[in-house]
Symmetry: D3
């Protein structure tokens, strides 16, 4: 069961209202790398976890992330407070209000018009939060790796936000939130490596002949095909791309039952393309200079070529020449 | 530039059509852990990457994932081929067709009705693929961690699919695809650790006083608060949860400009809740036994309590008693 | 700040694993009327709320909804536990596993294949939760009405779930969760009516001539146009539908600047439809019996009519006649 | 069956083109509180409604909302007309066009670039409309409450839009649309209360011991725990938060069948975390100053602590110090 | 199988970084008409296609679209490169950074803050790509029409983008991409018309009595009901709108089994609206001037009319009068 | 302005309730090819259209599609009516109800549990309708092509639905709806070809050297590279795939300003991968048989190779061998 304490985990001090900055902060409130995503990630893993140590850690961190959601949401709410009042009370002339709403140069108009200054669960583009951001799959060695990656991403988004504001109270609270991602990443790392073995994840081994192969799928000059620890011997066998590495035909093979085959054949016949036809097309009916098209379709031997319309200019030039 | 070879990277052999199995396979075609997500993840990272080694690796693996998308998509198409023909050609009676469409017990009806047997870019629930699945943020140490986690997840989903089919050709192709995730994970691991230092990610250090703290946010019996390497000394300082860890008030602080403050006050006044009122509510107007509610609202001193309606039974009992 | 207690708000007792039932329960975990939606709804309102009474109430109820999310999520996790083990450990033959995965007749395969038995933040169709479900707009009289409606909806979904299971422990826990929606609805009702006046919401009055009009937009027999308190005098003036109720032309009017008008004219000219033309179309090029279409387009005076192809039957008959 | 009259329900007069204002107006066209949502809400309720009075009212109002969708969409189209011509005809230099497209300071570039000046079914952030906004659940007492709330929200969004424009024709049309929401809310209120009883919704009563309890889930100073009609006696019993209010253990209880239990045990063993281990982690391999990490992993007893890298500054300071 | 060549299909030359322009370009990267949509469209059609000619064409064009995705993505990455460095290295003061991030006047802040300057698979509003953009249904005559339409749309979006930049290298590359849409459209047209017949699509003919009817569903002055080839005789029969064109009642008819009918009746009774009631509503409880509402509800005969609150002004006037 | 007539455009007769069939029908209600998509498509085009003929046609057809939405929605509502009553009134035992809810084998449980038997705006997988399905871009020659394609797709989905039911009344109504798509397609074709020229769409011509080129991007045996009218001379010039068709380097070129270049260099240095390193990775720390990994990391020269764990079987074999 959750309980709540009316004091924040970290005191939020905001110097002045700034809805444009509030909009940027939404990335860590309702954005893909934000605190709701983090809290949901660990909370749902906790629910299905049986290992007592991991279970305890997951709910500890999930609860802290909820508390961080409160901190960042409070920052957003404070930064929007002045604008909220003005719009609710229609305290400016319409022209001033229009400029206030649109003037931040980002999506802050959405917070004001649609959400009335309350912190919405969207990212800084106004995109609603979706649980498609949560990538847990119910395997601890995978989910811990996902958590490690998620913490590292959240750390960086905070770093970027810190670079965009000089309000010392906001900076300090963001610094705290950023710091905690570092701590959490370390816990998840420890939890991952205290499962042994944890690689490869799961139960099934790979096919030995392909587990350590690196396929060079992208050609280029020798100088462009880089070698490094990610494809070097002896860990990796460096091979050129080739199809049908199983030694087969590389073509799909399927056995259809008798009736299925017959029906498939019937479908193929009904919808076949005639490679030997020379049909007039809708595009040709619509080409410039095709005259009265319904009556005299373009000779397919030449008129079909698309030519520029008389007055048209090269697409790579500006409108000056039009 | 991409080029295509008409042979698959791995030969697909399908024993018989099975649209229900095809539906499950969609997880690795258009699902969050599937091959389109993998290809898009590495391809977009490649586009913005400047480090020549990582750039080369990313496009090598992106191209291979596209080739895997082709393999799994071919499996889906083959498994659906018989059903596709039957529906297109209306080759069964309506009652048979209805049973065929609905009978797999999962969402295979969607592939047939809406997508005509072609492999749709959805997961096995019919949910359209979204780039919200791609979590790249443009920082190599984060993106490589995300890639490592993504490969581990994809490995497990293949493992689960392998457990659900006894078609040897499908099993073998899935085994190949699963194996390659192991190889790719190793490459991404090597690439991550060839950046030094890579932890904490980014440029900004954490606040030293919070970087190695573990907050015990979830209470319980002593036996439930587990200790382990994820919160043990000397890496971690284990602390009880407490608000306002900065030593401040824990309450949000904001300076509003004079006019903002005045308008905010006006808004607060207009929308205040009167804690001393005792209002009749819409719920009370709608309660059973409230008589002619518009005329005689329930006395708020007692009639407001919700009571069960006469004939109603305990919600925890079955309908037998109703 | 949030804290967590390892005991649930209500004890969950599950008699036996049942992934099909677990799938239905997801409606109240990650569905639109579920507990995550409720918690997010009240938590975000709390963040922006200044009225001390409402603020306290909102966080009390938000915190309880989080605790309910834990209860319903625990039910889902328990119901899936048996299936989770089997798939992770591949403890059945493939044919058994395929039947287990697909056999519940709903979307439970998604929880197992994609989420590994952990409770996903989706509804019972596998659709990811989205904050588009949260309809808060930052005005207390609206948001309280939205909360009242949301509580009533959640109550009903629980009622439906209770009707679908005879596991007494699940029934009892669902009964508790359902009951709390009734309590919360009452609190939100009281909070709404303790704002006076609260109707119409906001600051601006309506245009008096249209505030109490009911337009009868749907014609029918006299017996079908129903009258009732929702359109009766003296509250409502019952009027027939008519366009341009403002007494104007009913047509859009716009003043374009000189250059805009000239450019708009140029665009109109370039893309005009010739109502006097009689063009051959792509459809006609593709009609059966149109012969070698590129050479001899159908005479538009008659051949354009779509006729059934020779062997085709009436669409309202069954395939027997095909 | 629907029919259409070419005249609008309310005449739209637009003084001058203004794509930035058009973008804001999209909230009521394709936004969550907009007219498409309203029309879809009432239309789908109508389809399933059997009560003749409600059924008639729902289609009357649905049809009017469609007519409002036409009014607001016409406003959007008019406001975009000048910009549409310019882009279609490439009537400005590229530099001018770029400024025109990006200059409104909100998302109006999307309407122009992607939708060519036509009104798109998105909100003002460019987010596509989704039926996830429609919260109908097929119970009349709930759906009417949802409709009441939806009308109140739409009223407020119109009020906000009215505050942002001084074009008198736009203001007047918005005023009409806003007014109609007030009328509709009154109809839905009357329809709700003409069902008796309507609270609690549905058939099942709550558990009496929890129906009127208010749990104080959020702690704080006495002065912060507010009392009011939403939690006052005698309607409510005010209780402190406590887990396991059923008197049980508060811990989930589940009976697994024998084989399920054995397999679950096997899974737990395979994936257990060793709380007594002291593993080196990936994070430690990537820490600054960890030397040649592959060769000499950090001693886990101390080197594991994250320290700032040499040149790094406090995150709460500006770049000046970097 | 796919392979990659490190050279682009068309050389990208970018004169200077411009994140605002990069944001607009995203329409053709991750937008609905962009190259990912095109590639996915043709690639998935290829997988299910059996006709050898179409199959070959589809994969040729799919592969080229992937190569175009690389070209447009490279343009986006180049245009963002300068901004990416500045944010990653925090190379400006916070105030400068805030202005840089927000200053483009469109959604470029999302690319920087969330995606770190890498090209995200979103459109220019920051909306994530979704396979809901792909409209393939597995019937070749439909899918080819869809492809024709998609190519024409993509052509126009490129045309709009070309109008917005004067960077000659960007213009030239966009011109190439635009040109290729013209070529692809022609191929899909030829492929469509080489299936004969292809109209109407599918197997079933229409009902002859309705196949060529045009219903005039929108009334207006005679001058507004336009006639043209789209509704002219002899192709079309022009009819006025009328309900029940089948000659029936126009009302839904359903046979319920006995128990179903009885239960439906029970439901109807429980939830009936009383058209003869005159209930007080929640709105009336909240009206201004309703006095102490819980005690003295408004007489429904008159006080229910909504009147403006005392000090309120006409919604069509500006705030000056408030 | 819209008006409504209480009679349907086509009488709906439903023989018996069938929620499973209702679920399939949702494809044409709230699915991507369904009637809401059609109505929204034409209605929004109408709003921005200035050509009087097209404008009239678009609103005529939009209004008819709304009327079709009503027909298909009525079918869905009728098919669900029996099930709706049973769930609302809890008229079966829980076990029966669970079977009823889950037994259709498709997603009909969602309509019942979440939507209470009312027709939801989702497709047959339960995916909410999104305006991302509407592909209008505000250019008439494109939008008409999109409309033509959309009508052809809708025709086919109806054909598939007709094949799945033997209820004669449902079949007949579906047949009517299918037929009208044929009629609409013909109108849109006529409207397209009455714009001359209409190909290529828009104003800008293509680059002549690439407008009629067909690139053979997919290699294979000669027998696999198919030729046909879609790539035949003289319309098309058939060329092999080659990068840098502009004759340039094929590599991106960008001029960074001095400070940008310096900062980019700094970023590159900070995040460089060392290709000559041989780092131990997290994967290696987690490999089986790596011993006490923190203490003795695997020698990177050999131990890094992934080997199967002792007891593991080949992934291509069944569990029998495990």
């Amino acid at each position: 069961m959750f309980a709540h304490n009316k004091r924040l985990q970290y005191t939020v001090r905001v110097q002045e209202t700034n809805p444009g900055l509030a909009n940027l902060m939404l990335e860590q409130f309702g954005g893909p790398q934000g605190e709701l995503a983090a809290a949901c990630r660990y909370f749902t893993q906790y629910l299905a976890e049986d290992d007592p140590g991991r279970r305890d850690m997951l709910i500890d961190i999930a609860t802290e992330e909820l508390s961080h959601l409160e901190v960042i949401g409070t920052i957003v709410a404070m930064l929007n407070k002045g604008a909220k009042g003005k719009l609710s009370e229609a305290a400016e002339t319409e022209a001033e209000m229009y400029r206030s709403i649109s003037g931040a140069g980002n999506d802050s108009h959405v917070t004001q018009l649609l959400y009335g200054g309350g912190p919405p669960l969207t990212n800084s583009a106004g995109v609603p939060w979706t649980s498609a951001y949560v990538d847990s799959i119910g395997d601890p060695s995978c989910d811990l790796r996902s958590n490690i990656a998620a913490e590292s991403r959240a750390k960086i988004i905070y770093e970027r936000l810190i670079s965009c504001t000089d309000d010392p109270g906001v900076k300090e609270a963001l610094g705290f939130l950023m710091t905690r991602e570092i701590a959490h990443q370390q816990s998840f790392e420890k939890a991952l490596y205290s499962i042994q073995p944890n690689f490869p994840p799961g139960k099934l081994p790979g096919m030995p002949q392909f587990t350590n192969v690196y396929f060079n799928m992208s050609d280029g000059d020798a100088s462009q095909d880089m070698r490094g620890p990610w494809n070097n011997e002896p860990i990796f066998e460096y091979r050129s791309a080739e199809p049908a590495v199983d030694g087969g035909s590389g073509m799909p093979e399927l056995t259809l039952r008798g009736d299925e085959a017959q029906i498939a054949e019937q479908l193929a016949l009904r919808t076949r393309s005639d490679p030997d036809s020379d049909p007039t097309t809708g595009a040709e009916l619509g080409m410039a200079g095709a005259g009265e098209p319904a009556k005299t379709p373009p000779a397919s031997g030449g008129g079909g070529r698309v030519k520029g319309r008389g007055a048209k200019s090269d697409p790579t030039n500006g409108p000056a020449s039009r």
